[in-house]
Amino acid sequence: MNVESMYQEIILDHYRNPRGRGLIEAPEGESHQVNPTCGDEVTVQVAMDREGHLHLGYEGQGCSISQASASVMAELAEGFDLATAEAARAAFMEMMRSKGDAEPDEDILGDAVAFVGVAKYPARIKCALLPWMALQDALVKSGAMKEGEK
């Protein structure tokens, strides 16, 4: 595998044209995550509507992987209920731990399956995970999820 195949078209597309980027109006939880090795930053905000659907805002700066990952995540999880969001996060984590050998479930992860190749590069895994870590932390802060619930 070479580098070009790690940068799947979907990743580049989300990097160049981030979906739903921006903050939301009345966030119930917010988390700012930094990758101290390279300075990548992502802020994720969450709010739950009355039907228990998740709404997301985000901002950030950094490499293609962290920023595309934020965009893919925001698009995917928007409108999810808590359980589905959590399932997606767990599936993403598992995929990133797979060293690139996983066959991720597109039904759960949608476009996020494109990140499977990133798992081959330990230094980039943190980049891909950054928005998902922010999502979890924001959910904990909003009270929607309890700490340690993983």
Binding site: V34, P36, T37, Y121, P122, A123, R124
Partner: protein, 422 residues
């Protein structure tokens, strides 16, 4: 014997050398530092030859492999004492590990602009810190310094004539004022194995942080941090077949979490601005700068070697040798053992004095016969004073020693006695 010493010796090239006038080297100074098997040297060299790079930082393949080597070493050494990798901090030696622990108290107690110190680490006048009268200087002087800087008071458990801790006093020495109990697991001078669990439980009863100096136990027996009941535990790589320049501090996660940084700089930060910084979570918080990567890898190879022998067999082997040595020493006129003279709850370090002959002179005769031992106060000067001796001779055996080694040592002692007419 539970260990095939001849086979083990093949892995230690230094033991083939001769010293002085073509004498076979009899190395009985492993309590000071152990020798290293070839595979430890090879593990270090292999690291440099194949993947040396800055860990945790680079985004290239070498850096990935170096990081993996370093973190795998951490995992292996943590597992060696029944812990998980996130609980293990690498330092340069046990002395730094103990200072890291001690500075957590000083740094929490000295005013700091950003001061929201964890109250468990704040000490001051009226508080006490408890050690024992058999501490290595490394677990004594740092606490003297904490006391001098914070106004806390140092107390200690005494040692009886047989080299055992005086525990009658326990509840008086460790009381409600006590904030730290830091004790040696196995004394490097007396050989005594202390009832650490009891001391840690008493520490926790009064709300103190419990710390164990495990320099002389982890290399010699199976040690499990959970069985010990400590909050923090320090030991060195070089005494357990590993390279010089690597030490370990294990900590209970919530305890490490409460400790402020000690050495600061790169790799231990979260964000840095010109006028302030925030810090990473443990263990990184305590590992500023380029770490001792090759040394961690080497220490892990040392641990692997010991695991292959089996720590219970290592302990049993030393127990047998120690029994042999104690029996013969006890039978020698003019020789007095400093420390437990029976082979019970003690390790393989045996200190003794010879009537009428200073330890330095005893050591000289041993050296002349090819025997490497240590003479002096063994960095436990107050313990020497307790026994009214300026210095002792200490022989300490390990996996590569056998009874023949002990015999050579005893013969040399006799030669010294003959020579000095003692």
């Amino acid at each position: 014997m539970t260990i095939d010493v001849d086979k083990v010796r093949e892995d230690f090239p230094i033991l083939d050398r001769t010293v002085r006038d073509q004498r076979r080297l009899v190395y009985l100074d492993s309590a000071a530092t152990s020798q290293k098997p070839i595979e430890v040297l090879e593990a270090e060299a292999e690291y440099y030859r194949t993947c040396n790079a800055a860990v945790h930082r680079g985004a290239h393949q070498l850096a990935e492999e170096a990081t993996d080597a370093y973190e795998s070493a951490r995992a292996r050494l943590a597992a060696f004492v029944g812990a998980t990798p996130d609980q293990l901090v690498f330092t340069k030696n046990a002395t730094e590990s103990l200072n890291l622990a001690a500075y957590a108290f000083t740094n929490s107690s000295v005013p700091h602009g950003q001061g929201d110190a964890d109250p468990r680490f704040v000490v001051g006048p009226g508080d006490t810190i408890v050690v024992t009268q058999m501490e290595h200087h490394a677990n004594l002087v740092p606490w003297q310094e904490v006391c001098a800087r914070t106004g806390a008071t140092l107390r200690w458990l005494g040692v009886d004539d047989d080299g055992r801790l005086e525990l009658d006093d326990l509840d008086r020495v460790i009381d409600e004022t006590t904030r730290v109990v830091s004790v040696v697991h196995q004394s490097n001078i007396l050989g005594t194995l202390n009832p650490v669990r009891l001391l840690m439980d008493r520490a926790h009863e009064v709300g103190a942080i419990g710390i164990v100096d495990a320099c002389q136990s982890v290399p010699h027996q199976h040690v499990d941090v959970h069985e010990l009941g400590a909050d923090l535990m320090a030991w060195s790589g070089h005494k357990m077949l590993g390279p010089t320049g690597i030490g370990m501090l294990w900590g209970r996660p919530d305890v490490l979490e409460g400790m402020p940084p000690f050495i600061t700089g790169g790799s231990m930060i979260e964000t840095v601005f010109m006028d302030h910084s925030t810090f990473a979570a443990p263990p990184k918080r305590f590992e500023a700068g380029t770490p001792m990567v090759a040394q961690a890898v080497g220490a892990a190879a040392g641990a692997a070697y010991l695991e292959r022998l089996g720590m219970d067999d290592v302990a049993e082997h030393e127990h047998q040798l120690t029994g042999y040595a104690l029996e013969r020493l006890r039978a020698m006129p003019g020789v007095r053992i400093i420390g437990p003279s029976d082979n019970h709850e003690r390790g393989s370090a045996i200190s003794f004095v010879v009537d009428g002959i200073h330890a330095h002179d005893v050591g000289q005769f041993l050296d002349d016969r090819g025997v490497a031992v240590r003479v002096g106060h063994h960095c436990a000067w107050p313990t020497c004073r307790r026994f009214g001796v300026p210095a002792t001779t200490r022989m300490s055996s390990y996996i590569y020693n056998d009874t023949a080694d002990i015999d050579v040592a005893l013969d040399a002692i006799r030669a010294a006695q003959d020579f000095f007419g003692a």
